[in-house]
C-alpha cells in the first residue's frame, strides 16, 4: 500500500508550491496516472480523501486523469498490442512506452492567491 506515502508526497509538494505563491487556499488538483505507473487510481483517490484532512488540500478535489500505456517499436514506430512480445516483428528492436504511460504527474493546482 504505497498509495498513502504517495499522497503524502503529493500534499507536501502542493503545500510548498502554494506557500511559494502565498496562496490562501487550494481548490483543485489535477493528477495524471499512467496505466503502468504502478498505482491503483481508486486506492489513490481513497488515500487522498482520507489523508487530505487537516492539510492545505482539505477542500481541494483531486481530478485523476488516466493515461494509457501504449507500446511501439523504438525504431519504426509500429504499434505493439498489449500482451504481445515487446520486440518489433519487423526490425527486432525493443519496444518503447508512450509518454506518461508509466508516470504519476502532478499536472495542475488551482489555488486562491491574493
Amino acid at each position: 500500500m504505497h498509495e498513502y506515502s504517495l499522497v503524502q508526497s503529493l500534499v507536501t509538494r502542493v503545500e510548498a508550491l502554494a506557500l511559494a505563491r502565498k496562496a490562501t487556499a487550494v481548490h483543485r488538483l489535477v493528477v495524471s496516472v499512467g496505466e503502468l505507473a504502478g498505482l491503483d487510481p481508486e486506492l489513490f483517490q481513497t488515500a487522498y480523501d482520507t489523508f487530505r484532512t487537516g492539510t492545505i488540500c482539505e477542500r481541494a478535489a483531486m481530478e485523476l486523469r488516466r493515461v494509457p500505456a501504449r507500446w511501439a517499436c523504438s525504431g519504426c514506430g509500429r504499434g505493439i498490442p498489449k500482451g504481445e512480445v515487446l520486440t518489433c516483428p519487423d526490425c527486432g528492436l525493443p519496444a518503447r512506452l508512450s509518454a506518461g504511460g508509466d508516470e504519476i504527474l502532478l499536472e495542475t493546482i488551482e489555488m486562491e492567491v491574493p
Binding site: T24, L39, G83, L86, A95, R96, D102, I109, M111
Partner: protein, 249 residues
C-alpha cells in the same frame, strides 16, 4: 488581488506544475547514485516476492564470488533483522532497514542507512528490498540496476501479473531451479511472459542450493562492474540541498 475591478478579493489561478509526484524521492536517489558512482560501488536493487530467495541468493553470491569482491548489503524488513544476520554470517557486512508497516524502501531510507556504514569500501552493494512485487517497483533508490528474483514455485504467469515490476528489471534471476524436477512449472512459459513485459528481456536460471547458474550471474556482475564509469573518489557530485550529516564526502 482581483484584476477586474481591484476590489481586494483573491483570485483563483490554475498553476501548471507537470512534475512527478515522486520528484522528491528521485532527487535523493540521484544523490545516492552520484555517491555510489564516485566511490566506484556497484549498487543493485534486489527485489522479489517474500520467499523468492533473495537472501539465499546473496549468501550463494558470497560463496560463488570466492572473495574477489568486497560485498555489503542493506535489507529492508518489516519487523526482523533475520536477513541481515544471515548475510553477516555469510560474510556480507549488512544492515537492516526496519520499515515497520512500510511495504517498500525509498531513496531517503537507503541514504540514511549509509551513515556509519563503510559502504565506500565496497565493490558491490546490494539493497535487498522488502519482499513485494508491487510497491518497490516505483521507487528509485539510486541503484545502478534492478535485479528481480522470481522463483519457479511462484507461478509461471507472475511477469504478466506484475508488469510494472518486471518492466523495470535489468535482470531477472529465476531462482530455486533445483526444484524444477519436483514441479510442473514450465520455465519456457516464464521466459515467454518476460518477453511480453520487458522490452529488453534478460534472465538467468539459478539455484542458490546447487550453485547452478551462479557462474552466469557472477559473469553478469563482472560485466556491470567493468562497464561502470570509475569515479575519482573525490566529491564529484553536486549538492543542491542542505544535508546536515556526514558520511565522508
Amino acid at each position: 488581488m482581483c484584476t477586474t475591478c481591484g476590489c481586494g478579493d483573491t483570485s483563483l489561478v490554475p498553476v501548471d506544475v507537470h512534475e512527478k509526484i515522486l520528484a522528491g524521492n528521485d532527487r535523493v536517489a540521484r544523490h545516492n547514485r552520484e555517491h555510489f558512482a564516485a566511490a566506484g560501488v556497484l549498487a543493485l536493487n534486489l527485489m522479489g516476492s517474500p520467499g523468492a530467495g533473495k537472501t539465499a541468493l546473496l549468501e550463494a553470491t558470497a560463496r560463488a564470488s570466492g572473495g574477489r569482491w568486497r560485498l555489503g548489503a542493506v535489507s529492508g524488513d518489516l519487523a526482523t533483522d533475520n536477513d541481515a544476520r544471515r548475510l553477516e554470517k555469510a560474510g556480507i557486512p549488512s544492515r537492516t532497514i526496519t520499515t515497520g508497516q512500510g511495504c517498500h524502501l525509498d531513496a531517503e531510507l537507503v541514504h540514511a542507512s549509509l551513515h556509519g556504514f563503510a559502504w565506500k569500501d565496497l565493490d558491490l552493494f546490494f539493497i535487498e528490498n522488502v519482499g513485494n512485487l508491487v510497491c518497490p517497483a516505483i521507487y528509485d533508490l539510486g541503484q545502478a540496476a534492478n535485479v528481480v528474483a522470481l522463483s519457479v514455485t511462484e507461478g509461471e504467469d507472475k511477469p504478466q501479473k506484475y508488469p510494472v515490476m518486471f518492466k523495470g528489471a535489468d535482470l531477472v534471476l529465476i531462482t530455486k531451479c533445483d526444484l524444477l524436477p519436483h514441479l510442473e512449472a514450465d520455465v519456457s512459459k516464464i521466459l515467454d511472459g518476460l518477453r511480453r513485459v520487458m522490452p529488453r528481456p534478460a534472465s538467468i536460471q539459478v539455484s542458490a542450493r546447487t550453485g547452478e547458474g551462479m557462474d552466469a550471474w557472477i559473469g553478469w556482475l563482472e560485466a556491470r562492474r567493468a562497464g561502470m564509469a570509475r569515479g575519482t573518489g573525490a566529491a564529484a557530485h553536486a549538492h543542491d540541498h542542505d544535508h546536515g550529516h556526514g558520511h565522508g564526502h
